[in-house]
């Protein structure tokens, strides 16, 4: 049944994408500022390709601000027909994006399976055996274990595939699906312990969109300490009980020295491979641009464009409105302040959530989604996809109805406000910026509440693991 659901879901998702594309969605969605940003626009990529064909730098005219490698991959597909005009409604690049989405869903599925088995393993270790314990404890333990027809990976993959944001970004003519799948690839590689893959995903996604650089922290934790698990002190506690009670003594402990060494070796490999991939990426970019002297231009036009916030056209982010108003001589200062917002939260979050690297990765992606200079709903698509991997921990998330309605409001009302401002001319920039604020508000509620829920979950685990294992158990938690 679960498999059937997944296949039906995949079929529906792919059909929906092609039906929308056939209805000319790219024409319409490609103009929506919520979907297309100056960095991810396929139209700008086509412009870059046009310059490239003319023998100019693809960055001429400040149209294209993406990677030259992406240009080499997608560029030839954008110039179908004669005279630069696309004749068919189907962009051949759509195939690439659909494949990217499917691959992303597959990665999420695999990651979900890994996380699920890790969950089963750690919870089995931590929680009292439900068969032997009191009925009240039993129900609580069963609640936390969860039981459903669909596996975690299947749920996460389906959520990612049929998420309207993912669909809109896929058919809307942006390069976001490719960036998203690379982020997922990095996390999958790290989860699997595959250093070259993780390094490739990380280096490539950072090269494409810069912000995934912050994922170095969760990836490192994933490589060294493995997937999400309850806090270490809980295991210490359980181990203590188990050692004190010879009947329950177990041979295998968490993290023996040999596995730790192996993981550090993997991490070393990851760093090495990252360096290698970076060299390869830079070399290939130089080759694509026609010389190493163009690399500086590339960095200025990609990272520099993101950091300097040169394009102030409206989007769902918080930058444009502020920087249209700010005085020129304070601009640099405020740019630093705005970007530093992301960096400020990294360390505290890492300290608090270091035992849950995947969730940490989600939080970081979500925070960059909120605070980046050119956000689109494509970023929301990936962060929501990652959130799907944490569903067991988020079972008692409280404001799901509110957050769902919030996303709905933004999705419907922001095009309407944009229409009021740009097309009807009866509104003004405040109308649209209000929607940006609502979006940021919804996202911050989602982040804060999900972090709160995970912390609550951990606390609950703590409580449950300290419950008396058996009625006649010798060890009492009060001794602690």
């Amino acid at each position: 049944m679960g498999k059937l659901m997944v296949w039906v879901g995949v079929a529906v998702a792919v059909t929906v994408r092609f039906v929308f594309a056939a209805m000319g969605a790219q024409e319409r969605l490609g103009r929506r500022v919520e979907i297309v940003t100056p960095v991810t626009s396929l139209k700008r990529l086509a412009e870059g390709q046009w310059f490239k064909q003319l023998g100019l730098s693809p960055y001429a005219g400040s149209a294209y601000h993406g990677s030259p490698l992406l240009l080499a991959l997608l560029g030839p597909m954008t110039t179908v027909g004669t005279g630069g005009q696309t004749s068919s409604r189907f962009h051949s690049s759509l195939i690439v994006f659909v494949i990217a989405d499917l691959l992303g869903a597959l990665l999420l599925l695999k990651m979900g399976n890994l996380v699920e088995s890790a969950n089963v393993y750690y919870l089995g270790k931590l929680l009292p055996d439900s068969k032997k314990s009191k009925p009240s404890v039993k129900t609580q333990v069963n609640d936390i274990r969860g039981h459903g027809k669909l596996g975690l990976g299947e749920v996460a993959a389906l959520l990612y595939l049929v998420n309207p944001f993912t669909v809109a970004v896929c058919v809307g003519g942006t390069t976001s699906p490719v960036e998203n799948v690379l982020v997922l690839l990095a996390l999958y590689g790290a989860l699997k312990g595959n250093s070259p893959l993780a390094a490739f995903g990380w280096a490539m996604s950072t090269h494409l969109s810069m912000y995934p650089a912050v994922l170095l922290i969760p990836i490192s934790i994933l490589m060294v300490a493995g997937p999400d698990k309850p806090q270490r002190k809980l295991f210490d506690h359980v181990n203590k009980i188990k050692t004190s009670n010879p009947k329950l003594k177990e041979k295998k402990m968490v993290g023996t020295t040999s596995t730790v060494q192996l993981q550090w070796a993997r991490y070393r490999d990851f760093l090495l491979f990252s360096a290698l991939w970076w060299i390869a990426i830079l070399g290939l970019s130089a080759a694509a641009l026609g010389g190493y002297e163009h690399l500086k231009e590339m960095l200025i036009e990609t990272y520099g464009f993101i950091l300097h916030v040169e394009d102030l056209s409206p989007n769902l982010g918080l930058f444009w409105y502020f920087f249209t108003e700010v005085f020129t001589h304070f601009r640099d200062f405020f740019i630093m302040v705005f970007h530093a917002n992301i960096l400020f939260v990294l360390v505290p979050l890492t300290i608090r959530l270091h035992h849950r690297p995947l969730f940490l990765a989600y939080v970081m992606v979500a925070i960059t989604t909120m605070l980046k200079s050119y956000p689109s709903i494509g970023d929301a698509a990936i962060s929501l996809g990652l959130l799907g991997l944490c569903t067991p921990e988020l079972a008692d998330f409280r404001f799901s109805f509110f957050v769902l309605n919030g996303y709905l409001v933004v999705a419907i009302l922001s095009p309407s406000m944009y229409n009021l401002w740009i097309w009807r001319g009866t509104g003004n920039a405040n109308f649209y910026f209000a929607m940006s604020l609502v979006y940021a508000c919804v996202q911050s509620i989602l982040i804060v509440e999900s972090v709160g829920t995970v912390i609550r979950y951990d606390r609950n685990l703590d409580r449950l693991s300290k419950l008396p294992v058996q009625v006649d158990s010798g060890a009492q938690p009060k001794e602690d």
Binding site: F401, F402, G452
Partner: protein, 749 residues
């Protein structure tokens, strides 16, 4: 939202934070609060005319009436003599269009203006240029139009022809223009048309001598054979989006038409065509303002000469308030003309309006006893008049159709209004001079403007010509009406599980119960209807999603069926059949989907899922109404008035029945559920048409053909009313019916 910031709720902690407690109190008394919100919303609508402020001219650059009007008696004479000449010409010629066009071309050329003709035909879908919801539709429509004209020339040969003259401003660069429109109908040419055109010519020749012009003046004389709106819309379309393809064939076609219409009577016209490049479409910069005016003969009303103003554009978009202010202030303060807004006759004589006005007056008398300086109420007669103006404007906006050719300008962000001057049969010259001076003053004032109209309001209602209600004021009643929806949804989502608190019941009255036995019973009841099962959430989402998709499909089906070529009655039947069938399909699919995901539900949770369905319905309706308020405000206001009681008052019949027979009942609770049930039935897809038919059946000629044609015209004009009915009202009503008829678990459990 208050709840969003609530912190962690821990079972060990006895006293929650203040914000949590506040939210809890809100949820506890949600029924009372929402009732009062609704009542307050209705009252706030009724006191809107009292909240109206006096208009003022916000843009200083306009300087209305600063220059003396140069329109003199000789111009009046010219207007009258040319009207007479035109009438003579028309009576001599069989082809009115040719006579008028020829006369116009000659006269315009004589004033030294650039003159050309704009032939056009009625586009296949006549009114598709009102392209509000899809702003990206610009290019699509254009290309399809071009391909049509290129495809079959013969069928699409232009049959109507507008004449356009342009005065180039002597001291400007020609970047901006003001468009004057004087429509005439060749099939119905009358004394008034001649007078309008004569006035137009007099004004045009006066303006051609003006030295103060900073903007080009475009005089558009649309051939309103198919109505004024299509002619103006067609011209504006070509002005802004010239057909890219087939330019040469287009040009040939135009010349052909020109020859056909003008050159039948000799050589001179032939030369005129060849020399003057009459077929070229000439432009004059960005159009800043449009002014449509026509002269009508009629009687003076109360000894004052009046001007009627129409301003509502497509979907209730209004021109900048400053424009109306300028027209008003010049008319009132300089020419002592009286402006009036077009109202629907009959509203003014509604007795209940007068009664309400009198009630407010009495209340004000009472308050004045306490504080003598406090006076807010209007006299009852003024109140009724202002309310009638307000309601008429709202009615025009609800229909969503523009009230005149000025609506065509709105699609290009150009502010425009239509003025209709009443010219009495006696003392014509005197009034004509006034009209001319007024128009000249308005144009001069507009000419002073340095930029786009941006200073004053775009989002407003007029309750009188010098009283406006801005968006900040009229959103208050709407907010009050809609506020109760998210509140109730929150109450359904997060039922407060406190002893002695009746949250899931119909009435808060029952919270007074004190006996422990009843309290225990209540708690049990609450637990049953508590919406904490994630399975039922998913089911509710699937159900609401399916119904919404069905509604979208119904709208799409209407669009598709309207394209076929059959009778209106058949189309309506066809559509009804498709909609009913697809509703069945939607429910089947929903049942299948929910059936396949029943992995953890208990039967109890399943049958109790109506609370969750209601919560989701409330949420989506609130969002829909909020979006509609940005698209077409009066529609959303009507939607809030009709949908909010339905959404709040709907409970399963079984639930109400049991409640009425339980120990905890109260009169208010029973009344509330009865009202909810009746309202839901009245607003249902079957109840509402019956209701309309029974009330207005004798007034309107309601039959299937008319209904379909009305829906089709709404579709063609892209009125927001149709999406409201199909995509917001219909699914909401269906979901409420679903809740009304949903079954509860048997009581003995």
């Amino acid at each position: 939202m208050a709840k969003s910031a609530t912190g962690e709720e821990r079972s060990v902690e006895p006293k929650p934070r203040p914000l949590v407690r506040l939210g809890r109190q809100l949820i506890l008394h949600v029924h009372i609060i929402s009732f009062f919100c609704y009542v307050a919303g209705v009252v706030a609508i009724l006191i809107l005319p009292m909240l109206a402020k006096n208009t003022y001219i916000s843009e200083n650059a306009l300087m209305p009436g600063s220059g003396n009007a140069a329109f003199s008696n000789s111009d009046t004479l010219l207007a009258r003599s040319s009207a007479e000449e035109l009438e003579r010409l028309v009576s001599q010629n069989v082809n009115v269009q040719r006579a008028v066009s020829k006369w116009l071309i000659e006269e315009m050329t004589a004033t030294g203006a650039d003159c050309y003709v704009h032939p056009f035909s009625l586009p296949a879908s006549a009114l598709s240029s009102t392209r509000f919801p899809t702003s990206s539709g610009h290019f699509k429509w254009n290309t399809s139009n071009a391909s049509v004209t290129g495809g079959d020339l013969e069928e699409q040969a232009p049959s109507a022809m507008s004449v356009v003259g342009i005065i180039r401003a002597p001291q400007a660069e020609g970047n901006e223009a003001v468009v004057l429109v004087t429509p005439y109908d060749p099939d119905d040419f009358w004394h008034e048309s001649a007078l309008t055109l004569g006035m137009g010519l007099a004004l045009f020749s006066r303006l051609s001598q003006a030295l103060w012009l900073a903007r080009d003046i475009v005089w558009l004389v649309p051939d309103s054979k198919y109505g004024v709106y299509p002619a103006v819309a067609n011209w504006l379309e070509e002005y802004h989006h010239p057909p890219i393809n087939h330019i040469s064939s287009h040009q040939d076609m135009k010349l052909e038409l020109l020859r056909k219409t003008l050159s039948e009577d000799g050589e001179s016209s032939q030369q005129l065509i060849d020399s003057q490049t009459l077929g070229d479409f000439k432009r004059a910069g960005t159009i800043a303002t449009g002014l449509v005016y026509e002269l009508k003969s009629g009687l003076r009303q109360g000894g004052v000469d009046t001007i009627t103003v129409w301003a509502e554009g497509p979907n209730g978009q209004m021109p900048n308030l400053d424009f109306i202010n300028v027209v008003n202030s010049i008319a009132v303060y300089r020419e002592s003309l009286q402006l009036r807004l077009e109202t629907i006759p009959g509203i003014k004589s509604w007795t209940w309006l007068k009664t309400v006005g009198m009630v407010f007056e009495e209340i004000n008398k009472l308050t004045r006893v306490i504080t003598p300086s406090w006076s807010f109420a209007l006299p009852a007669a003024t109140y009724a008049e202002n309310m009638a103006t307000l309601f008429s404007s709202m009615f025009f906006q609800i229909i969503g159709l523009p009230t005149g050719a000025h609506g065509a300008f709105r699609d290009y962000q150009i502010d425009a209004i239509t003025l209709q001057f009443i010219i009495p049969t006696q003392g014509q010259d005197y009034v004509l001079a006034k009209v001319g001076r007024h128009l000249e003053g308005v144009i001069r004032s507009v000419n002073n403007l340095l930029e786009k109209w941006h200073q004053s309001f775009f989002l407003y209602f007029l309750s009188a010509l010098n009283k406006y209600i801005s968006v900040g004021v009229y959103m208050i009643p709407f907010g009050l009406l809609v506020l109760s929806l998210p509140l109730q949804a929150a109450a359904l989502c997060y039922p407060v599980k406190e002893a002695g608190s009746a949250t899931t019941d119909v009435s808060t009255q029952s919270s007074k119960i004190n006996s422990t036995k009843q309290r225990a019973k209540k708690q049990r009841l609450e637990r049953k209807s508590g919406a904490d099962d994630s399975g039922s959430w998913l089911e509710a989402l699937v159900l609401v999603g399916a119904v919404q998709l069905w509604a979208f499909f119904a709208a799409l089906a209407l669009f598709l069926i309207s394209g076929t070529k059959t009778t209106a009655e058949f189309k309506l039947r066809c559509w009804l059949g498709v909609v009913a069938l697809s509703l069945l399909v939607a429910f089947t699919v929903q049942k299948f989907l929910t059936g396949s995901m029943h992995y953890k539900r208990s039967t109890q949770a399943h049958t109790q899922s109506w609370t969750v369905v209601k919560a989701v319905t409330l949420g989506i309706t609130a969002i829909d109404l909020a979006v509609m308020s940005t698209i077409n405000f009066p529609v959303s206001l009507i939607g809030a008035l009709t949908l909010v009681p339905m959404c709040l008052g709907v409970f399963p019949i079984q639930h109400s029945w049991r409640y009425a027979h339980s120990d905890v009942k109260s009169v208010v609770g029973i009344a509330a559920s009865a009202v909810g049930t009746v309202w839901t039935l009245a607003m249902s897809p079957i109840g509402l048409p019956l209701l309309i038919w029974s009330f207005y059946g004798h007034l309107l000629d309601i039959n299937s053909e008319n209904v379909w044609n009305f829906a089709e015209s709404l579709l063609q004009w892209r009125s927001a009313l149709l999406p409201h009915i199909l995509v917001i009202h219909l699914p909401c009503a269906v979901l409420c019916l679903y809740i009304l008829l949903s079954r509860l678990p048997s009581q003995r459990q």
